[in-house]
């Protein structure tokens, strides 16, 4: 392992943070500002929070002699995106009492609450804790929320695979008790030895680390977009083990050619749980020791791997794990979707997947989604599973309870809403972006719904209404809605301006490329009009839009 020089500022903050404590206690006591101290803004991420401010309100508040409206976004840790009914009820009231009230389902199977003012953080985390929920390590240079293919109908052994999400999350948790001390005001631990952390030490990882588990043939989690992906290998309803893919990462930076999106590379197969867990663990240790700690733009695993080579990396992992990885097993992804509507799993339990546009659970003109889901939760006869496409599955409903749930969903117009939404709308995703995201260059979730509204007529015009083309939009090149593996991707460059990406496939195995840059809305619609008409005329049978654009060498 090589000695690293000129460590980035964040590295110093981590190491000086005394087990992720920083000066948070003092920051909370600073009465006249809604912000926390500079260093702590990095530290709280490890506790699952981001300091933000409402960018729409800056100017007017300055006029009013008010400081920026600093608030905090908190992100829950929900391995595999699972939450029980009681927890939903708790989350619902916490959102109402302490945040903007909107429950935001993310592209990584969890939820975020926005707009907590400083004095509300502790009460929020305490209430979550009482409901058995936490936000530990959902942000920061550490393993994030672990994804797993969401829908139990996908396989009889879904439950078995799903259990790994939790095991992995547990294995990769930081050992510090700071979270409990600071937010739950638990006893300070006397003996710091209890906190010793062989995995993260005091440096943690050079950058965020993301893990997902996919159950073929559905790649709903975008397994190759993750630093580490597990592909479940199932032969006649038995879990044989996992193929391991490493080095996925989907973000770039405008004008920084050394940054790029990368899909994970499959490096082998492990057959037992013990080996799988060990291999995962050592991928993290190698990244910890060799990842770039001076330039955060180049610190993700993908850059480490490309720097040292895939083979070197595999060997290093095997050396540390003490066993060789078996050759990867064959697998095939044929789709990347959520199964909207009612479906039954092999054990006869029922599941209803609700379409939640851009993951925003709130009551609006079309449907009183938030109220409906609360009533559903209150029956205590369901559980909830979030999907990596920002939707929610009302889950594990027994035959006898199905009708009562159906009635509630009808009463609040949820079923009609889900069914009435077009295929393209249901396939699309946008990131949060404005007003809360400090990195946003353009609108995301506030704009896409209305752009889709203008794309739908185009598809109609060219008779493509039932094509499931995947469209994704982000407000900046960080790629939070994974636009680089969409068939049509919009990446914000400036207010109202987007780069148009095409050429991704439907299963998430091929990156797209930039087709046109800095388009405004009319230009976007014009380009799509032409592409659609060409597609309609010249496609081969069953050819997806993405494959078509590649065959035609449009990019």
């Amino acid at each position: 392992m090589e000695e690293q020089h000129n460590l980035s500022g964040i590295e110093k903050i981590k190491q000086a943070s005394d087990g992720l404590r920083g000066e948070i206690e003092q920051s909370l006591k600073d009465e006249i500002t809604g912000a926390i101290r500079e260093g702590d803004q990095a530290v709280v991420k490890f506790h699952g929070m981001y300091q933000q401010d409402d960018r729409d309100r800056r100017e007017e508040r300055a006029q009013k002699k008010l400081d920026r409206l600093y608030t905090f976004m908190i992100r829950l840790r929900l391995p595999g995106g699972f939450m029980d009914a009681k927890q939903w009820v708790a989350m619902h009231s916490i959102a109402g009492d302490n945040s903007t009230g909107v429950i935001k389902i993310t592209t990584r199977q969890t939820v975020q609450l926005h707009g907590l003012i400083k004095s509300k953080i502790r009460p929020t985390i305490k209430s979550f804790s009482e409901a058995g929920l936490d936000s530990i390590a959902t942000c920061g240079d550490i393993n994030r929320n672990v994804l797993c293919s969401a829908h139990p109908k996908q396989s009889p052994i879904h439950e078995k695979v799903f259990a790994y999400a939790d095991k992995i999350s547990e294995m990769l948790m930081p050992k510090t008790k700071a979270y409990y001390e600071i937010w739950l005001e638990d006893e300070k631990i006397a003996d710091k030895k209890e906190e010793e952390d062989p995995l993260y030490q005091d440096r943690y990882l050079p950058r965020k680390f993301k893990i997902a588990i996919a159950i073929p043939p559905n790649n709903d989690v975008d397994v190759f977009g993750n630093d580490l992906g597990l592909i479940a290998i199932i032969e006649n309803n038995e879990l044989k083990g996992y193929n391991i893919a490493i080095g996925g990462g989907l973000s770039t930076t405008h004008g920084n050619p050394s940054t790029y999106a990368r899909l994970g590379t499959v490096i082998g197969f492990t057959d037992t749980e013990e080996k799988t867990m060990k291999a995962i663990y050592e991928v993290l240790t190698v990244q910890r020791d060799y990842g770039n700690r001076s330039d955060r733009k180049l610190a993700r695993l993908k850059y480490t791997i490309d720097k040292y080579g895939v083979d070197w990396f595999r060997t290093e992992v095997e050396k540390r794990a003490g066993f060789k990885l078996e050759p990867a097993r064959p697998f095939q992804f044929t789709e990347r979707r959520d199964y909207f509507g009612w479906y039954q799993n092999n054990r006869g339990l029922w599941y209803y997947t609700v379409f939640v546009e851009n993951g925003r659970v709130t009551d609006d003109e079309q449907a009183a989604l938030k109220t409906a889901l609360l009533e559903v939760a209150k029956t205590n006869k369901v559980s909830f599973r979030f999907t990596a496409n920002q939707n929610v599955i009302i889950s594990d409903i027994s035959e006898k309870d199905k009708d009562s749930i159906q009635k509630i969903l009808e009463k609040f117009n949820i079923i009609a809403h889900t069914e009435a939404s077009s295929v393209v709308r249901k396939n699309s995703m946008a990131c949060v972006a404005l007003p809360t995201c400090p990195l946003a260059l353009a609108e995301g979730q506030r704009y896409l719904p209305n752009l889709i509204g203008k794309i739908e007529p185009l598809m109609e015009k060219h008779g493509l209404v039932n094509e499931d083309i995947i469209i994704r939009m982000t407000g900046c090149p960080n790629g939070c809605a994974r636009p680089y593996i969409a068939e049509i991707g919009f990446v914000g460059t400036a207010p109202g301006k987007y780069n148009l990406h095409i050429g991704g496939d439907n299963q998430g195995m091929r990156l797209n490329k930039i087709y046109k840059e800095n388009l405004d809305e009319p230009a976007i619609l014009n380009e799509l009009d032409n592409l659609f008409s060409q597609f309609k005329k010249e496609r081969t049978i069953k050819e997806s839009f993405g494959d078509f654009t590649v065959r035609k060498q449009l990019i």
Binding site: I32, G34, K64, K65, L66, L69, T71, S119, P123
Partner: protein
């Protein structure tokens, strides 16, 4: 001109006397000369040994005067009992012999809240006060249209009830000390002579020089912003007025006479059958159109009961004794015709000025005055209403001219630059301290500054947040503690923060800090005073009584000052 030995006595006496004693002697002597008759010196044992000094106060002046005089009376061997009019047993009035009333005027020529019971009692005749010998000291302010009205009424009523004046009523303007002493010296003298003949038969024309009103400035509104963010329950306007020649000191207020809203005037006129809004009529020997009179001159909202009474007799109807605005009067008890409506105009009081503590500092904001005005919201039988002046100010656009006068507040002044100060100013109370801090910042005062501020919600109600942050970062503010009452289940107010800081707070006070309180009187100022006394008691390890005395001591030394309303 005095012979050696007399001069010596005089000089000794002068040296050994307090300011008040001197001005008392001054009054005493000038009186003697006035009557050109020698009287036995007051220091001799007086034959009267019991007087009651009853005060009715809103902001504490009358009380201060009353207790001060009682002390002097005692010095003169007269046993004086001091009582606040709200504590006073009304039945005792019939038994009283010597009864002195010191009462201020509030609102619109009304008695202070604490004197209402007494005031109403003596206005309901049907009993006699044969024994009563009395005199009235009326505190007031010439900038209000009904100068010392409450005092006048009391003086008049007590006579109607058979009481005998032992000294004519004395009216005092804002600077009341001198006139008040003059009055008391007269009273003392008559008491000491104990001569029925000293009874003043009827009110003499008021002799006290009535200071010729206050200088009226015409300024221009250059800023008017609502400091509360969206989602707040409040609207608090920061208003900046440019007025080059204006002169004031940090701690002063300005007085503004509001205009009535057009809509209100129009609806009123719509209820006065056949009235011609353009018709000119005389008012205070100037002529105005009826519309202008209603808009600019006459108070048409929240009429006091006296006015309502007169209205009742004009329309010859039974109207319950309550405050009500003109519009509702006209709705419920219509006027017969235009003539009767004009008659009604005749009985309306002028619009009274409203005071606003200045939020600016002469040193920092030369040629400007800033004020912090919260829109006054209240409901009258389920109908949401807004205060006349605060709403009026909220409506003003920039570049509108506006008239105002400066209301000095001698008892609310910054101490020497090197003295530490503790400022408690929740809500609009922050105004005075924005002024203090700006002044101390601009003049580079070396004393430490500690601010307590409170409002409802941190995110939307933190008045002047960025300015306070700057003063804290630049060290002008040594300490700041804020309380936001509605950001958590339990209500937290400034007094709770003061308790949390109790030890430190007492340390500052011990080492000579001056304490200032500004803002809403009820319930804030009361709660804060209790907190302060509690803190002095606990952290000064004193008894309740000692703590109270310590506190009063601070008041007397001018180390505790209030500007509450």
């Amino acid at each position: 001109m005095l012979p050696e030995h007399k001069l010596k006595i005089l000089l000794d006496l002068v040296k050994s006397s307090s300011k008040d004693e001197l001005s008392w002697m001054n009054g005493y002597i000038s009186d003697i000369i006035g009557e050109e008759t020698r009287k036995m010196p007051v220091t001799a044992k007086a034959t009267i040994n019991k007087v009651t000094i009853a005060y009715g106060t809103e902001t504490g002046n009358s009380k201060r005067v009353a207790t001060d005089f009682a002390a002097k009376a005692k010095k003169n061997g007269i046993n004086a009992k001091v009582v606040s009019l709200d504590q006073y047993r009304l039945n005792d009035l019939a038994k009283e012999e010597y009864f002195l009333t010191i009462i201020s005027t509030q609102g619109e020529g009304e008695p202070p809240e604490a004197a209402k019971k007494f005031y109403d009692h003596i206005h309901h005749n049907g009993f006699k006060l044969e024994k009563l010998k009395y005199s009235v000291l009326a505190l007031g302010d010439t900038s209000y249209p009904l100068y010392c009205k409450a005092g006048e009424d009391v003086d008049e009523q007590l006579q109607k009830l058979g009481g005998k004046r032992i000294a004519e009523m004395q009216k005092c303007d804002v600077e009341f000390e001198e006139d008040a002493n003059l009055w008391f010296s007269k009273v003392l003298k008559t008491l000491s002579d104990n001569k029925e003949s000293n009874v003043v038969p009827t009110a003499l024309p008021e002799t006290a020089k009535k200071s010729a009103g206050k200088k009226s400035y015409s300024g221009t509104i250059i800023t008017n912003i609502n400091l509360n963010d969206r989602g707040s329950n409040k609207e608090t306007y920061h208003i900046e007025i440019a007025a080059d020649e204006v002169e004031y000191e940090a701690g002063d207020s300005i007085g503004i006479v509001p205009e009535n809203p057009d809509k209100m005037v129009e609806t009123i006129l719509s209820f006065a059958k056949g009235i011609n809004a353009g018709k000119k009529i005389q008012y205070k020997n100037e002529s105005y159109t009826i519309f202008d009179l209603l808009k600019y001159k006459l108070n048409i909202s929240h009429l006091i009961t006296a006015v309502v009474k007169r209205y009742a007799s004009i329309v010859t109807q039974e109207i319950p004794e309550t405050k009500i605005d003109l519009l509702n009067l006209l709705k419920i008890y219509p006027v017969k015709d235009a003539a009767q409506f004009e008659e009604v105009l005749g009985i309306l009081n002028p619009i009274a000025p409203r005071l606003y503590t200045m939020a600016s500092s002469p040193a920092a904001n030369n040629g400007e005055v800033h004020i912090t005005v919260v829109k006054d919201v209240f409901t009258v039988n389920e109908e949401k209403k807004f205060g006349i002046c605060s709403a009026f100010l909220g409506r003003q656009n920039i570049n509108t001219p506006i008239k105002f006068f400066v209301q000095k507040n001698k008892r609310f002044r910054l101490p020497a630059p090197d003295k530490d100060i503790i400022m408690i100013g929740p809500g609009t109370g922050i105004a005075a301290f924005r002024s203090f801090l700006a002044e101390r910042d601009a003049t580079g005062a070396s004393g430490k500054n500690w601010l307590f501020f409170g409002e409802q919600h941190f995110a939307v109600d933190f008045l002047y947040q960025t300015e306070i942050q700057n003063w804290f970062e630049t060290g002008v503010l040594t300490k700041v503690n804020v309380a936001f009452s509605r950001d958590q289940p339990e209500k937290i107010y400034v007094q709770h923060r003061m308790w949390e800081q109790g030890a430190e707070l007492y340390k500052w006070i011990q080492s000579g800090a001056h304490v200032y309180l500004c803002g809403k009187k009820d319930p804030m100022s009361v709660d804060v005073e209790h907190a302060l006394m509690g803190i002095i008691e606990k952290f000064g390890e004193k008894t309740k009584e000692e703590a109270r005395e310590f506190f009063i001591q601070m008041e007397n030394e001018g180390r505790y000052s209030e500007d509450v309303y």
